[in-house]
Symmetry: C2
């Protein structure tokens, strides 16, 4: 039997990264999932990541903790208020307060460190630029620049054993397209978590930007979102 | 009084990063030092970083812990043996076992995250390519690629508030030149630590590649290395 190539998948436990994991599986890769806790208020997302990792039968799940909270600058890592009840057409403009400084650069760097040790050249991320066009590190040119860096930064790159590739299969898809593709690939979205501001026991608020986008997408597909929300 | 621009300096507590800190100070920057523990066996280096930070009167010292040890692949993060008593001309060839996968990429990413929050555009690193030509992420083209990435990855880069610059003033210097310059800038090298394999109480071995290079440089300058070594 041929050995399957390895891939490192950045897995937050959210809808997008879980779909990216399904894409990596469908592409025939052996799955190594990396979840990074960055001092976010919602560790419930990490619980979701473990649930998803288990359901996908991944080879290894690595968890790293980084204190980006110490640096502040984001509603996801500090006491800034998470915006609620914004109409969808207001969500996509500008850089939101939930932007975490250099987050994707830090995440991809850690994925690269692990990939190099594993002998993997493929990194999968659930980045998507349609609903979050305001995030600077969520653009194809950012990913290209990271690939260039990765091939200069590593032993494997220097020795020419292979070329690192960052796969962001969802990058140009709408949330509806992501969910449709995930369902085709057998993703169970009841395992995932998207809310920026859940209750202490992990129930989604249904009102933050992330919940609004998710709920609208399921609604427009005529599918019920399988996770519970507050006040339901 | 004019406000001094801020800089983030990656500070390991070693001879090179301490000299880079002195360069940032001499260039008129306000100093924010970032020390990253990466599961290395010698936390004694981190103690040195605190000593150095205190001596330089930096504005803030941030410490981050990352478990690169979990990924293995290096004598600095696993149980691989640190080479000893190698002649200097053998040290510079190939990628050494002390290479830590993607370390500098991870370190610079964290520095970038903090810099963005601080409104700093200048990152100082003590990278040097003369004695460690075998490290892939220790080359000028790697640093250029990181600057490109940084300006694509951040709010500041996208909004054009400034351009990130990675300063690696020592990159082409010999260890002798680094020490000479540091002494000119008033660095007290008795505060620094370089050994890859110190005793439990932090005394340098005098025999690993890092000690060998350091000792040879002080000797060739006719200056006594002010730190203690085993068997002295």
């Amino acid at each position: 039997m041929a050995v399957r190539p390895r891939s490192v998948v950045l897995l937050s436990g959210g809808l997008d990264s879980t779909t990216a994991l399904a894409e990596a599986r469908a592409a025939g890769f052996e799955l190594y999932a990396l979840t990074i806790f960055y001092g976010q208020r919602h560790v419930v997302e990490a619980v979701a990541a473990r649930r998803v990792a288990k359901a996908f039968g991944i080879v290894q799940h690595s968890e790293q903790v980084i204190d980006l909270r110490a640096y502040g600058g984001s509603a996801l890592t500090s006491d800034l208020e998470v915006p609620k009840d914004r109409p969808l057409d207001q969500i996509s403009h500008g850089i939101p307060v939930t932007y975490v400084p250099a987050r994707n650069t830090v995440f991809l760097s850690l994925a690269l460190a692990w990939a190099e040790v594993l002998g993997a050249f493929d990194i999968f991320v659930g980045l998507n630029c349609v609903d979050y066009s305001g995030y600077p590190d969520c653009r194809p040119e950012f990913l290209k620049a990271f690939e260039t860096l990765a091939n200069l930064a590593t032993k494997a790159g220097v020795e020419g054993a292979g070329a690192f590739k960052v796969h962001a299969p969802l990058i140009h898809w709408t949330k509806e397209q992501i969910i449709q593709r995930g369902i085709e690939l057998g993703v169970d979205y009841s395992l995932t978590h998207s809310c920026y501001d859940p209750s202490a026991d992990g129930v989604s608020c249904g009102r933050c930007d992330s919940c609004s986008i998710r709920l609208a997408a399921f609604k427009s597909l005529g599918i019920e979102d399988p996770i519970p929300y507050m006040n339901e």
